[in-house]
């Protein structure tokens, strides 16, 4: 077994911010191309999509932040184009607020249960 500092096959870490109701579609698209695990977080954000106004008796609030889903996955480098294409196709609606995909170099990863590192761990 390799240690945490050993040099591995290159890996990427993909983070996508998507509309909440697109989560199922995106998850299915990813598993169908071989992505084994993802992490999902509920987030708030704004970009070009405008928020809305809420009124409670005499108090008016402009809500700028919109609810989004952040989906993250560690993938082997050679899968990057497919993963990005799959997310884009599944998450896109054509309306403002579809979201963004961020790609990072992933230096190392370890599976906690077994101690496996690198591509064995993703």
């Amino acid at each position: 077994m390799q240690g945490i500092r050993s040099r591995e096959q290159p890996m990427k870490f993909v983070t996508a911010i998507i509309k909440p109701y697109k989560l199922n579609e995106v998850r299915e698209a990813l598993t169908s191309i071989g992505v084994q695990g993802v992490t999902v977080t509920e987030v708030k954000g704004f970009g070009r999509q405008k928020g809305h106004t809420e009124i409670y008796r005499g108090a008016e609030y402009v809500i700028e932040f919109l609810p989004k889903i952040k989906i993250e996955a560690a993938i082997p480098s050679d899968l990057l184009e497919q993963v990005v294409a799959a997310i884009k196709k599944a998450a896109q609606t054509g309306q403002i607020g579809d979201g963004k995909i961020f790609v990072f170099d992933l230096e190392q990863v370890m599976r906690i249960r077994t101690g496996e590192t690198g591509s064995d761990a993703i």
Binding site: Y56, R57, G58
Partner: protein, 455 residues
């Protein structure tokens, strides 16, 4: 010949045969009415208010309402009932029934009909629920920033010096059986409460409960100060679901409050019931539609608030007006109280967090005044009964309006003065407000060591 003054126990005397006996239907109804009013506070008001604050303060609201209810119940049986509903002077009763001394299962209390009584214990605890909900209403005005100990101290003072005398002034009288002839009526009238003597009519407590609490709330909002971040940060309600549940419990419970104030199960109780239903529904709609037109969308909070506004406004009127009058009162209350929580609130400039004055103050004043108009038999009202002539008297709107103004004015001034002094005293001894850090973190964890939601 001694006439029976019906607040004293006559069991075992030569006059026992003259003492009316409670009707089981009236008694059963009044026990149920008492339960309904209790439900209005726990959990009705607690949830109505609780849903309107932020998650970090939910428990503090529930706790304050629950505890104030309990506190006032105890104070009521110890001295509250005695000081409100025994003979004393025009402003306070006496100490003859401290700890309900002398009251037994055979004791009776008068109703509004000659020769009809209910067990005094039922009357005591029916009134107790009123004495408990009134202070609880105030809590909404200074929600999210007051010290718990200060809340308890202030409420004790205000209950004693504002609620008890108001209840005495408006509702204490010798009972209808004392009004046998003109001389007896004069004597009986002289022992009645100050506002009763002024002729003010208030069936279920528009002055005693709503204006009274609202003034205390408004003054509290001023004296405790605005919440940190008010006007800049979001203070949006955390659960309008809870608020709607609370509003619904208030609406249903209020039938006990209004129809129960008839003290017996008669057609007048049914009229009070019907007026309550009509005015509330009308007010919910009028607030909602007005909001729809002026702000673009009809809101759940608007409908719930409109309903409460209607309930408040019909409270003094419910046993005096006809259904037509109730409709007008309800429609008016929805619109006027919508202004109360918007334009008027901005004018006043206080952080009355849960709009106690905008709804209970404005609604209570509106209802008290419209009662004087619509109690008129010419406008469908029941008129004012003459217990000496044993018939409805001629109605003078101008005279009645003067009486109503006495009621409103006295409440505003009395409650105002007592509140200012009580807040000031408590501030000097305990301090009214929590620290800014505690306010930021939330009262649930800092005052009560608990959090309402785990997620």
């Amino acid at each position: 010949m001694l006439f029976v003054v019906l607040f004293v126990n006559f069991a075992g005397t030569a006059f026992a045969a003259d003492v009316p006996v409670p009707d089981k239907g009236d008694t059963a109804w009044m026990i149920v009415a008492t339960l309904l009013v209790a439900l209005m506070t726990i959990p009705g008001l607690a949830l109505f208010y609780g849903g309107l604050v932020r998650t970090k303060n939910m428990l503090s609201v529930l706790m304050q309402v629950f505890t104030v209810f309990s506190l006032c119940m105890v104070l009521w049986v110890v001295y509250g009932y005695s000081l409100a509903f025994t003979e004393g002077n025009a402003f306070f009763g006496g100490f003859s029934k401290i700890l309900l001394s002398g009251v037994t299962v055979d004791s009776v209390a008068a109703t509004f009909s000659k020769g009809v009584v209910i067990p005094e214990f039922v009357y005591i605890f029916f009134q107790a629920t009123f004495a408990a909900i009134t202070p609880a209403l105030i809590l909404g005005a200074f929600a999210e920033r007051m010290k718990f100990s200060a809340v308890l101290a202030f409420i004790t003072l205000w209950f004693t010096f504002a609620y008890l005398p108001m209840a005495h002034m408006v509702w204490f009288w010798a009972g209808p059986d004392a009004y046998t002839d003109a001389d007896a009526a004069t004597k009986a009238g002289a022992i009645a409460g100050f506002l009763f003597q002024k002729g003010a009519i208030d069936f279920a407590g528009g002055t005693v409960v709503h204006i009274n609490a609202a003034i205390a709330g408004l003054i509290g909002a001023f004296m405790v100060g605005k919440r940190v971040g008010y006007g800049r940060e979001s203070m949006a309600p955390h659960s309008l679901t809870m608020t709607m549940i609370g509003a619904s419990l208030l609406w249903v419970g209020w039938f006990g409050f209004n129809a129960g104030s008839n003290l017996e199960a008669t057609g007048l109780a049914a009229l009070a019931f019907g007026n309550t239903m009509t005015a509330t529904a009308a007010a919910a709609l009028s607030w909602m539609f007005t909001e729809w037109v002026l702000k673009g969308k009809p809101s759940m909070l608007g409908a719930a608030s409109g309903a409460v506004a209607g309930l408040v406004a019909i409270t003094p009127a419910c046993g005096w007006v006809g259904i037509g009058g109730a409709l007008v009162i309800g429609l008016a209350a929805g619109v006027v109280c919508l202004w109360g929580v918007n334009g008027l609130k901005r004018l006043l400039g206080a952080d009355d967090a849960l709009d106690v004055f905008g709804v209970h103050g404005v609604g209570g004043i509106l209802g008290a005044l419209l009662t004087g108009i619509f109690a008129n038999p010419d406008l469908g009202g029941v008129g004012v009964y003459d217990y000496v002539a044993n018939q409805v008297a001629d109605y003078s709107t101008s005279a009645q309006m003067i009486s109503q103004l006495w009621g409103v004015g006295t409440t505003v001034i009395w409650s105002g003065l007592v509140s200012i002094i009580a807040y000031k005293l408590v501030d000097m001894v305990i301090g009214l407000r929590v620290s800014e850090d505690e306010e930021r973190e939330g009262l649930d964890t800092t005052s009560h060591g608990e959090s309402a939601y785990k997620y």
